[in-house]
């Protein structure tokens, strides 16, 4: 097969990089694919026309209560007075929002203005009520084995559109709750694993040099490249050595481009306040959301943000309102901003925790709930999903899934589907088997596709 031997003059840098077979993303080159001359992070065609090009996953660690946010249960409100071992009705009020009349709790006033963009998944289900296992399952599909994370699978499946940024970025990830497993690549090549970024601007490792001025460093790299090209004359066309040469050019540029993307101070005041950067309550998650938009613009394929502290065994009223207040404006700002840039239609936002909270009063004080995986809620927006829409339902107490169950594999299958990937065809051969993100199950919730 003759793939790269015809000589044509590259028109743009992009053409040049494509021509030389190792261009995009982290500019990775896998020797195992040497015969195929493929950069593992070069953009790959989807299996079918995608609705979304990228994902922003807003992970709410701890298990946010669906009963206080997106799953209104009038029956539970009637019988749930609280007390030891008693049912507990929602501690917040719900109002119909937008044209669709989607029911959203009062803790999300700003997000409610985007009700007609939200596709609320009320029939989520996970297999365990343990934080760690459910968190790992949410991210990798397996609470039993060490498996590649969803972001790694997606980057493996689609490559990256980011020229000088990683394809999969996770901002302020958890150190515990499975830690790096949640953005790891397990048996997939390491180039697909998530790159950790600090939301406060703590960037990519080794991105600047404190000893050398740029001009001197350029001279140093010129020397390196001279040596590399000399070696290339002995191994003409060797894609690995070409990969090394290109990796230095890209690395050199990244020293400017990466801090540039991370520098959210460059955003105008109007945008900064749109994300709540001028308020201490919203600043933290606001920075994350704004960073997510900047990364999305640059073509990063999978961006995860993490917000902690949703484990409300007690102080449900105070704790949950405080947590919700921290994300309400920033997420609303993110949706507004993506919309005004025309990016919401192909950016899939996914919001949710590892599980929800049960209908019973956890401590008997009428102000807390326990872990609950049997039925809970998440939501999606943009990326080709129906807006102002509820999918599935729990029973009248908000306890178990009553219709259209969506377990973790179903969720993953649906996310892949929106990205144009068939979850049964996205496989990787390891240990003699073809592995999938969805293992042996997973059903796409086609009804939610707009």
């Amino acid at each position: 097969m003759n793939r790269c031997c015809s000589f044509s003059v590259p028109q743009t840098r992009r053409d040049f990089l494509q021509l030389t077979s190792a261009g995009f993303g982290w500019m990775a080159f896998s020797a195992m694919a040497a015969e195929k001359a493929l950069n593992p992070l070069a953009p790959k065609p989807a299996h079918f026309t995608p609705r979304a090009k990228r994902v922003i996953f807003l992970f709410m660690q701890g298990g946010p209560s669906h009963l206080e946010t997106f799953d209104w249960k009038p029956e539970l409100a009637k019988v749930g007075k609280g007390g030891p071992h008693q049912l507990l009705g929602s501690v917040f009020n719900f109002q119909p929002q937008g044209k669709s009349g989607l029911l959203i709790s009062e803790v999300f006033p700003k997000l409610s203005t985007h009700a007609d963009e939200l596709c609320v998944l009320n029939s989520m289900q996970t297999r365990t009520n343990s934080h760690v296992q459910a968190t790992v399952a949410m991210h990798t599909g397996s609470e039993t084995f060490v498996r590649p994370s969803m972001g790694a699978w997606i980057t493996y499946g689609l490559g990256s559109l980011a020229e000088d940024l990683p394809g999969f970025v996770t901002v302020d990830p958890l150190n515990d709750q499975g830690g790096a497993m949640n953005y790891g690549s397990a048996f997939l090549p390491a180039s697909y694993q998530g790159t950790r970024l600090g939301g406060g601007g703590g960037g990519i490792p080794n991105i600047d040099n404190e000893l050398l001025r740029r001009g001197e460093q350029r001279r140093q790299i010129d020397l390196v490249q001279k040596m590399n090209r000399r070696l290339l004359t002995r191994q003409p066309g060797d894609p690995e050595i070409e990969g090394v040469i290109q990796s230095y050019e890209l690395a050199y540029q990244m020293q400017t481009s990466v801090p540039d993307v991370l520098d959210i101070e460059k955003e105008p005041d109007s945008i900064q306040s749109l994300y709540g950067l001028n308020d201490r309550a919203t600043e933290g998650f606001g920075r994350q959301c704004l960073l997510a938009r900047r990364l999305a613009e640059k073509g990063v394929r999978f961006i995860q943000l993490t917000h902690r502290g949703w484990d409300h065994h007690n102080k449900l009223r105070e704790g949950l309102s405080e947590r919700a207040a921290g994300i309400d404006l920033p997420i609303a700002g993110l949706i507004t901003d993506l919309k005004q840039r025309g990016m919401l239609k192909d950016t899939l936002i996914v919001w949710g925790g590892e599980f929800g909270r049960g209908p019973h009063d956890d401590k008997g004080d009428g102000n807390g709930r326990g872990h609950h995986g049997a039925g809970f809620s998440m939501w999606m927006a943009g990326g080709g999903v129906k807006g102002g829409y509820n999918y599935g339902a729990t029973d009248e107490l908000g306890d178990k899934v009553a219709e259209k169950k969506m377990d973790i594999q179903d969720l993953h299958a649906t996310i892949l589907h929106l990205l144009g990937l068939d979850h049964e065809a996205l496989t990787y051969r390891y240990a003699g088997r073809d592995f999938r993100l969805t293992n042996v199950s997973g059903k796409v919730a086609r009804e939610i596709v707009a």
Partner: protein
């Protein structure tokens, strides 16, 4: 073929779904009946006839040449001595040759064959050999210094297994013995306490499963542990994924679920001592439990004085570390004393066959096949297992029996891969139907037969491969056409993280050749800052990289950058990726900057004229002298840089570390 994946489902609802799917699969795909090529008996292959007999150096070359001649591909000429020595030194010791070694080899007046044979004998006898080749085995054994998964408690005693592997390779322990010790060392006869200790340390091999400590104690945990032991044993030694048959008959290989549980019974009757405890059984050390370790007999253990605290080898801040130990948060110490009579390992447990877990459900059990009654078509049967024995001894005998063709084939293929860049069977861990067929099947058998006849000596095998013509060719040329799998040249190979780091330390005169002593990990696992497992040896510790702890999920960043095998996975073949963060690492990391500065200091201290200093830099880093052109480039560069002399040299040295040539074995 698009294979359905195989995994254990956990909840009732998915189990039902799984059952439904499974029925569909079983009715739609007939079980594989054909015996894979790799199960066929080992036999001495016929030697093909070739034209150019003068090309041959070793018996293996004829198989390479036959194919080259058939394809009409001309092999490359031999590499020069300087190139060959660097290649051989990295392959055998993971380090470059010293200038004196280069000089001696280049000036050796004897024939290439004789001179190179002497070099190989020297390198094979070096203690550095074991440090290089043990790491290859540790990848396959999924060696780790912590358990990973949810609680990630450290394995303070893992290093003893690591050191066992290094010692075994240095001593050229026959491979069949090496296999038997790891599976059944505790059951093997012994003469001296030292031998007994070695046998016990070897069984650490069976204790590295990444099991979930939040879920321990129950039947599920026990079966997960057994599953890992089956997986590592069958994949490491036989290249088979038997663990696939946990929930159903293997879909592509002739391994039935009954075979799986026949094997499971053996490990089910084995007690595992990993030194950690599950959530329900926390002792004074949290998830780390020194009572759940095997006891070693006197000998070396008694001779060693028990260390009071962990060593300070990693340059860790002992004062704060000690304070932490004295005032542990949550009542658990986070640093561990080294008790020389303890190790990870296994012993005989309560003997019982293992009942089939229907579709992998630990609570839905079927009949129990007699343990060890494996009926894999084409493979021998296990010897009868005595009533009161687990059967590991019989399993070990079976693995190394002359009738088992997989064990030698898989091992010679692993060794070949490390010397030639890819296996004769490229899927080194998969010799089943889903793996690739060998590119040179006769060569594989030729090597396997020689390996067994040579007393399973790994060093002899390596020596023969390296003395071959095939190994000595120059790597220049254009690939992939013709394809490298014809072996018309030596394939250029990217160095792994270990030799890259070790060489930089060596160039800077900072590398120590001793082992660090004692436990180099801390943290009892689980939640909370104090519990976090961590390495006490930093990336700049002056020890060889194999001695840096490999904690699951928290590897040193350099390991991640340069494709270290994920220690949760059984992985005989590492990825080779080339990514911009590697370039950034050489350009900007503190570690490279420090080592470049130290190298500069060492070179400047030689007080030679500049050309000599440039030569010294090239020798330290690339194990060769610079060309005239390169000296001119260096001179120009050093003149132009507007920096202090030391900084100028450091910048130049850093450029050499950054070069592709440094990263590749040519």
């Amino acid at each position: 073929m698009n294979l359905p994946p195989c995994e254990l489902p956990a909840s009732q609802s998915t189990r039902m779904l799984f059952a439904a799917l499974l029925l569909g699969i079983i009715t739609s795909i007939a079980p594989a009946e054909e015996t894979p090529w790799s199960f066929k008996p080992l036999k001495r292959p016929e030697v093909p006839t070739i034209k150019n007999t003068a090309w041959l150096k070793d018996g293996l070359d004829v198989f390479i040449l036959a194919k080259l001649e058939a394809e009409g591909i001309a092999p490359n000429p031999d590499a020069d001595r300087v190139t060959l020595l660097r290649r051989a030194s990295y392959d055998l010791t993971g380090l470059p040759p010293t200038p004196a070694e280069v000089d001696a080899f280049v000036r050796d007046p004897s024939s290439d064959d004789q001179a190179f044979a002497r070099v190989l004998d020297r390198l094979l006898a070096s203690p550095r050999f074991g440090e290089r080749w043990a790491r290859h085995w540790l990848d396959v054994a999924h060696y780790a210094d912590s358990i990973g998964r949810t609680m990630n408690a450290v394995f303070p005693y893992a290093f003893r297994y690591r050191d066992y592997v290094i010692d075994a390779l240095n001593a050229d322990k026959p491979y069949n013995r090496f296999v038997a010790e790891q599976v059944a060392g505790d059951l093997l006869p012994w003469k001296t306490p030292a031998e007994r200790e070695m046998n016990l340390l070897a069984t650490g091999f069976l204790t590295f499963g990444a099991t979930d400590l939040s879920d321990s104690g129950g039947e599920q945990f026990a079966l997960d542990q057994v599953d890992d032991q089956i997986d590592v044993t069958t994949r490491a030694f036989m290249g088979l994924t038997v663990a696939c048959a946990r929930c159903h008959d293997h879909k592509t290989d002739p391994v039935a679920q009954m075979d799986y549980y026949a094997l499971a019974g053996i490990f089910y009757s084995t007690e595992t001592w990993p030194g950690v405890a599950g959530k329900g059984n926390l002792g004074p050390n949290g998830y780390v439990d020194e009572d759940r370790l095997v006891r070693l007999p006197g000998s070396t253990a008694a001779a060693q004085k028990p260390a009071k605290t962990s060593s300070t080898a990693g340059g860790n801040d002992m004062t704060s570390a000690m304070m932490e130990q004295m005032n542990p948060t949550k009542g658990y110490p986070t640093m561990f004393r080294f008790l020389p009579d303890r190790a990870m390992g296994v012993s005989e447990g309560e003997v019982s066959d293992c009942r089939i877990a229907i579709k992998g459900d630990p609570h839905d059990r079927g009949e129990a096949p007699p343990r060890g009654r494996i009926e894999i078509p084409g493979l021998p049967k296990l010897a009868p297992i005595p009533k009161n024995a687990s059967g590991r001894l019989q399993l070990a005998e079976w693995l190394i029996s002359p009738q088992n063709p997989l064990t030698p084939r898989v091992m010679v293929n692993r060794v070949w891969q490390h010397l030639f860049g890819s296996g004769i069977v490229r899927t080194v861990d998969d010799f089943g139907s889903t793996g690739e067929a060998p590119t040179h099947p006769e060569l594989l058998d030729h090597l396997a037969v020689r390996f067994v006849e040579g007393g399973w000596s790994v060093k002899k095998l390596i020596r023969a491969m390296m003395l071959s013509r095939t190994y000595r060719m120059v790597s220049d040329g254009r690939a992939p056409n013709p394809d490298d799998s014809f072996y018309w040249r030596m394939r250029p190979r990217r160095l792994e993280v270990e030799p890259i780091r070790d060489t930089m330390l060596l160039a800077a005169d900072r590398l120590k050749f001793e082992k660090p002593t004692g436990i180099q990990v801390a943290g009892f696992g689980g939640k909370g800052r104090a519990a976090w497992s961590r390495s006490l040896m930093k990336e700049d510790a002056p020890y060889r990289t194999i001695y840096l702890p490999a904690l699951r999920g928290i590897l040193p960043s350099m390991h991640e950058l340069f494709d270290f095998a994920d220690p949760s996975q059984i992985k005989g073949q590492r990825e080779v990726t080339t990514v911009a963060p590697q370039a950034l690492f050489f350009m900007n990391s503190e570690l490279v900057a420090d080592l470049a500065r130290d190298t500069a200091e060492a070179v400047l201290a030689e007080k030679a004229e500049q050309t000599k200093q440039v030569e010294s830099v090239y020798q330290r880093i690339l194990a060769r002298k610079p060309t005239r052109e390169e000296i001119a480039d260096a001179t120009q560069f050093l003149k132009e840089m507007d920096l202090s002399p030391a900084e100028r040299w450091a910048t130049f040295i850093q450029a050499l570390f950054a070069s592709a040539e440094f990263r590749y074995v040519l």
